[in-house]
């Protein structure tokens, strides 16, 4: 059975339908890329999977590890292994990054019936993971993402992913706003986490990110549906020819 099974998913925001019958099946260990023009529903898919309020599924179902995803609150989804790397990570003044990481990690462990990490264990884990991503200790003491550059915010998302060790990571436009060096650091961080027990859904407008995070499967999302699925070469084709034909197709 697939890790993530999305069947005929319809999602509306404020009564307007954005996803119109989306099907997607992601097996354990696979990396899927979802590409599509602006407004095709890429971020909506990311948010509805993570459980954002106001993203209302009106039809269809999503099974995550065999469980009905829509029966679970966002924190339950996270504890079950779902992770969304935000396109625009939020700033939380007054909540130190360390406190945030620790609260999140321990909340998930508690929900899974695991023991909380000891302080030295936790600190070592964070330091190691942060070091690999070039995040210094001073940043960890600051409020979450407060005063971070765009690249630092994205690296902080990857750091959270590394610590929380999800089964499924959804990367929502992780490449947006990054220069090539920042992109490489983030992509290397993701690649280190690839393995048989972890799947990725990489959402992106551009093919560029997929040079660094090489997908197993590429989907084209247009007007709320997956309109084409192929191998990694599909991304190159899209880069060369653009999305025009899919937008026309969707408009018909």
């Amino acid at each position: 059975m697939a890790l993530l099974e999305v069947k005929n998913l319809h999602v509306a925001i404020d009564g307007k339908e954005i996803l119109k019958g989306l099907d997607l099946s992601v097996n354990a260990g696979e990396v899927h890329a979802i590409m599509g023009p602006n407004g095709s529903g890429k971020s909506t898919l990311a948010y509805v999977l993570a459980g954002k309020a106001d993203y209302e599924p009106t039809q269809g179902e999503v099974l995550f590890n065999g469980r009905n995803l829509f029966d679970m609150s966002p924190d339950e989804r996270a504890a079950a292994g779902m992770f969304l790397a935000f396109q625009y990570p939020l700033e939380i003044p007054g909540v130190a990054t360390m406190t945030f990481l620790r609260t999140a990690l321990n909340a998930q462990r508690k929900k899974r019936g695991e023991a909380e990490l000891s302080t030295p264990q936790f600190l070592k884990t964070v330091r190691d993971a942060a070091g690999k991503l070039g995040i210094d200790q001073e940043m960890l003491r600051r409020g979450v993402n407060v005063g971070f550059s765009g690249g630092e915010k994205k690296r902080n998302e990857v750091l959270q992913m590394a610590l929380l060790e999800p089964k499924l990571a959804i990367l929502d436009e992780t490449d947006s706003g990054l220069d090539i060096d920042a992109l490489k650091i983030a992509a290397d961080g993701v690649n280190r986490l690839r393995g048989p027990g972890r799947s990725f859904v990489v959402i992106t407008h551009y093919q560029r990110l997929l040079n660094y995070i090489v997908p197993d499967v590429v989907h084209v999302l247009s007007a709320g549906r997956i309109v084409r699925t192929g191998g990694k070469e599909l991304a190159l084709e899209l880069e060369a020819r653009g999305y025009a034909e899919y937008q026309e197709e969707a408009a018909v």
């Binding site: 309020a53 609150s73 924190d75 969304l84 990570p89 003044p93 909340a107 929380l164």
Partner: protein, 445 residues
């Protein structure tokens, strides 16, 4: 026919007049103090309890909120004293020198007045008044605004309080803690304290108020604080009264030049709380941090009214007041920064923020700047809003459950004010008090 209009006296006003008539002969102090009391009560009787048409009390209509006047508290009995032993825990374990007052009366056997540091003197106001301490006349009533109804009542009926003096140059490391406890009897206490910190001296004063939840007792507490040039004074007021209590507090302070002054108010208890601060920066180049955190729920009403008057040049003041409101609670912040004509180079910034956890809660804020000098930097800001759903979703998407995510955001919100407290132990105690308050939040409707 006379054109005078006599307003109907409320039950509370009539009660206060009776209380004063019965108590005036027994209250401590000589002739001069008695005259001070008479004048204060006359001033009060003329205007009566303040109400919503009095601008300073617009949001706290004491005439409506104070239904009756409780009788003056009797001297505390043994049972009341036993309860007071563990009081003041909210401040944490600071190993402070405790001066304990039960129902407004100083209790020497619960207080620590031994081995006083050099330069420190402590005593009770009742003793000082009875002894006719001539030093009192130099300070008593010199700062508290006589035209304020709460102050007038306090002056008329003050029974006891603390008189603390720190001699010039003395650095008192051990904090002083005035522990005010009300017992189960629904009575009224009027306490008046003096803190005199002479030039180049340093002291930290904590004042806490608490009492049983089931008693509708009334507290009127006033402190006149004198800080000399180059003094360093930290003052913390913790209002954790019982859920039915009426609490009116006044701080009147005059700060000298090149001094450091920090004041923090923590309001979590009481049915109706009015916490007023009248500050005067008399000397040049003083740096002051005036902060506060209010956490209220149910039908609690908490009013913070601040007047910070910059008289001398070059003072810097930062005012940060935060309120968290749940259920149908009502918070008020009235903050006025005055810059007198001579107070050039004043740097004053005031910020008040309210976080509403319920749609039925209400936060009123009225920041004001009155600037009579032209070379100053002054500003103020006020916000009120709900918890940010986007931030909450971000936390929940990382596995943090709903209530814990909210608690984290509320702690972060209050942190900006609480982090201004210099003493790390006290800071932690207050963050812990916030955590306890958050844990006891009821299930959401």
């Amino acid at each position: 026919m006379s054109a005078d209009v006599t307003t109907m006296k409320t039950a509370a006003e009539t009660g206060l007049a009776q209380t004063f008539a019965q108590a005036r002969a027994k209250l401590p102090g000589g002739k001069a103090v008695a005259a001070q009391r008479e004048a204060a009560f006359d001033a009060f009787a003329k205007s009566g309890l303040p109400h919503r048409r009095i601008e300073e009390w617009k949001y706290t209509d004491l005439r409506a909120l104070m239904r009756d006047a409780k009788p003056l508290a009797a001297p505390p009995d043994a049972a009341a004293k036993v309860l007071a032993r563990t009081a003041g825990a909210l401040a944490g374990d600071l190993e402070a020198r405790r001066l304990v007052f039960v129902d407004g009366a100083f209790v020497p056997e619960l207080s620590d007045t031994t081995k006083l540091e050099e330069g420190l003197s402590v005593g009770s106001l009742a003793d000082a008044l009875t002894a006719g301490d001539p030093a009192l006349t130099r300070y008593l009533g010199k700062l508290a605004p006589a035209d304020d109804a709460a102050v007038a009542l306090n002056t008329a009926l003050m029974g006891d309080g603390a008189v603390i003096r720190v001699a010039a140059g003395a650095v008192i490391k051990r904090p002083l803690h005035l522990v005010f406890v009300s017992s189960a009897k629904p009575s009224a206490s009027f306490v008046r304290s003096l803190l005199i910190v002479e030039p180049s001296a340093r002291a930290m004063l904590i004042e806490s108020h608490e009492g049983p939840a089931g008693s509708d007792y009334q507290v009127n507490a006033a402190l006149e604080l004198f800080a000399g040039d180059q003094a360093h004074v930290d003052y913390v007021k913790l209002i954790a009264d019982g859920a039915q209590a009426l609490h009116v507090s006044t701080l009147a302070a005059a700060i000298g030049g090149k001094a450091r002054f920090n004041a923090f108010s923590f309001v979590a208890g009481g049915a109706v709380v009015r916490n007023q601060l009248f500050l005067r920066f008399d000397g040049e180049d003083t740096v002051a941090g005036i902060r506060g955190a209010t956490l209220i729920r149910g039908h609690q009403h908490a009013d913070t009214t601040l007047v910070a008057n910059h008289i001398a040049e070059g003072c810097q003041s930062r005012e940060v007041f935060k309120a968290v409101l749940d259920d149908e609670a009502h918070s008020v912040f009235q903050g006025r920064i005055i810059v007198s004509p001579g107070a050039q180079k004043t740097d004053a910034k005031m910020m008040t923020r309210a976080l509403l956890l319920s749609e039925r809660a209400e936060a009123d804020s009225k920041p004001e700047l009155e600037i009579f000098a032209d070379d100053v930097q002054c500003g103020h800001g006020a916000t009120a809003g709900a918890l940010d759903d986007e931030l909450k979703f971000y936390l929940m998407a990382r596995g943090i459950p709903d209530a814990e995510a909210e608690a984290l955001l509320i702690q972060a919100f209050l942190g900006e004010a609480i982090e201004g407290i210099e003493d790390a132990g006290l800071r932690e105690s207050l963050m812990e008090a916030v955590a306890v308050w958050l844990k006891s939040r009821g299930p959401k409707q």
